[in-house]
């Protein structure tokens, strides 16, 4: 708890991020790989965890652990309080109207599947149209395809331009009498493009169409205010937001959630069960069948408090400066092709080095301690649009600094030398 206290003491929303202090909050960054300092540029896949999160998890298990909403005993009460407090912390973080709009899931993928299964199968019918974009992660494609196969909805795809900007004109033109849902990512995990979700929501609502936003990257790099955005559903995942793995969030507008049937059945989500008839709890508990990820939720709340204390604006400013620095440095290397040039993009850089295979490049980088992701990034349709089999991807987080950019560039030069 001491670290959380330290972090809170640092609250100063106008101050620039103290990166050295922030780095020191992440124990894993002191690790070496192959005897070299770790240069972690894979936070878009999963971010590292600050001490405040590790401590919160440890403390929950050591002092307040029990099942929630069940025992009539003291520990269960403490665990339940901490779990429900976590819900409130998350609700405040995204400016939801109420904690009842926050459903805890395993990850973003489960959150989107919940919407597809519960909302989709209830309110959509054969021939209804769902609008997706070319830049979606598989997590925001496949659940809708499953729904298509189950009930016969039609998927319509909004294209991107060559800079990786969503074609809003095409989106506007796609609305028709059968359009029932828009599912769009807040921020692309490949291109870094931050979509104007507020505008998209307004456009969709003008047509009476609700919007599901995949906020897995957006919540980290752009922040999210539910009342300003007015999205109907917003899904994100804890592990990318410096929280534990195994916890995700589905925000849903209360009136929608109340009209939706359960996603899974079991304990925790019922009001009364008999073999003849079962009645269900109200949201959010209706959608949380079985023992929830209790400690993970508590860990996520600690992560949310941590980034809030540093200041989301300060983090964003820091990441933007790093993005500019890294982009300029990569352009200096020669032969580096960057995918995604959208104005205002997040600090995610997908790239290829000349004709080198991205897998080779990543392997040489790895030997230098530089961790990047390589491959299709769970976005095969986007890869097809870009005309590549895969890319390498460097993604930046609050704890990265100029030395990481230098290490990346140096390792790319080495890759060119060794492989070229």
């Amino acid at each position: 708890m001491t670290m959380a206290k330290v972090a809170t003491d640092r609250i100063d929303q106008t101050a620039a991020l103290d990166v050295a202090a922030a780095r020191a909050d992440f124990p894993i960054l002191k690790e070496t790989v192959y005897g070299r300092p770790l240069v972690y540029l894979d936070s878009a896949a999963s971010a590292q965890k600050p001490r405040a999160v590790l401590d919160a998890v440890q403390e929950a298990y050591e002092k307040r652990y029990s099942n929630v909403h069940r025992g009539a005993h003291r520990l269960s009460q403490l665990a339940t309080d901490a779990f429900e407090e976590a819900r409130e912390t998350v609700a405040r973080f995204i400016n939801a109207r109420s904690a009842d709009e926050i459903i805890f899931t395993r990850n973003a993928t489960e959150a989107i599947n919940l919407v597809a299964a519960s909302y989709g199968r209830t309110f959509l019918a054969a021939g209804d149209e769902i609008v997706l974009t070319e830049m979606e992660h598989h997590a925001n494609i496949v659940p809708w395809q499953l729904l298509r196969d189950q009930i016969g909805v039609v998927l319509r795809i909004v294209p991107i331009d060559d800079d990786g900007v969503l074609r809003l004109d095409s989106l506007a033109a796609l609305f028709g009498p059968r359009t029932r849902l828009v599912a769009v990512t807040h921020c692309s995990n490949v291109l870094g493009t931050v979509n104007p979700v507020q505008e998209i929501v307004r456009l969709a609502h003008d047509h009476g169409v609700p919007v599901v936003v995949d906020g897995s990257q957006g919540i980290v790099h752009a922040g999210a205010d539910m009342q300003a955005m007015d999205a109907d559903f917003y899904a994100f995942t804890g592990h990318k937001l410096y929280g534990p793995s195994g916890i995700g969030v589905l925000y849903g507008k209360q009136d929608l959630l109340e009209r939706m049937p359960p996603y899974q059945g079991g304990g925790e989500m019922i009001d009364h069960v008999s073999f003849a008839k079962t009645t269900f709890k109200t949201p959010p508990h209706r959608f949380e069948a079985g023992t929830p990820p209790i400690v993970q939720a508590i860990g996520l709340a600690a992560a949310v408090r941590y980034v809030s204390a540093l200041g989301m604006d300060a983090i964003r400013a820091h990441e933007q400066a790093l993005l500019a620095e890294a982009t300029a440095a990569l352009e200096q290397v020669g032969g580096v092709r960057i995918f995604g040039r959208a104005p205002g993009k997040a600090a995610i850089i997908s790239f290829l080095v000349g004709s080198l295979h991205p897998y080779d490049v990543a392997a040489v980088l790895d030997r230098d301690g530089v961790a990047v992701r390589v491959g299709q990034h769970c976005a095969e349709p986007l890869m097809a649009r870009l005309g590549v089999d895969g890319t390498a991807r460097a993604s930046f987080a609050l704890y990265n600094d100029g030395t990481d950019v230098e290490a990346l560039v140096k390792a790319i030069h080495k890759a060119k030398r060794l492989l070229g």
């Binding site: 192959y34 295979h357 897998y359 392997a363 790895d366 030997r367 491959g375 089999d389």
Partner: protein
């Protein structure tokens, strides 16, 4: 007797290099050498020759001679993987289907020596399994005569 002389040569060559970084570069050189000296025919890069489940594409073809010995050729567009698949296919060529089944994880481990990340080690184990599958005659280009070799 199973002739593993080519395998032994690779294992010894790797063992002589006592620096991890150098072993890594050895694999890269190997990958480049195969590409230069004995390029994999373009027409072999077809779906039936693809080994599935790899991060980068890997093609392996199997030619069985009159004595029932398997002669493998492999390729990947990634140089490092090309080095690994080239080494694996060369090291374990010339064996019968039955002999191939006697190759173990420990043999493959000797070709790693820590120079490679777990993912690539797993990749090499998958390659071994694939060669053994071809050795059993389940592969696209493998001869059917080897069914009997394996009990």
């Amino acid at each position: 007797m199973t002739d593993l002389s080519r395998y032994e040569e690779f294992a010894e060559a790797l063992e002589m290099i006592d620096d991890e970084e150098m072993r890594f570069e050895y694999i890269i050189d190997l990958g480049r050498q195969y590409e230069r000296d004995d390029p994999f025919p373009q027409e072999w890069k077809i779906e039936t020759n693809l080994m599935h489940g790899c991060m980068s594409k890997v093609w392996i073809v199997d030619d069985v001679d009159d004595d029932g010995r398997h002669h493998f050729r492999g390729h990947s567009d990634a140089i490092i993987v090309n080095g690994l698949v080239g080494m694996m296919t060369e090291a374990f060529s010339g064996l019968t289907g039955a002999e191939l089944q006697t190759i173990t994880v420990d043999h493959v481990r000797r070709l790693n020596l820590g120079a490679l990340t777990t993912q690539r080690q797993v990749g090499m184990m998958a390659m071994l399994k694939h060669l053994q599958k071809l050795g059993r005659g389940n592969g696209a280009m493998a001869g059917a005569e080897n069914h009997d070799d394996h009990s």
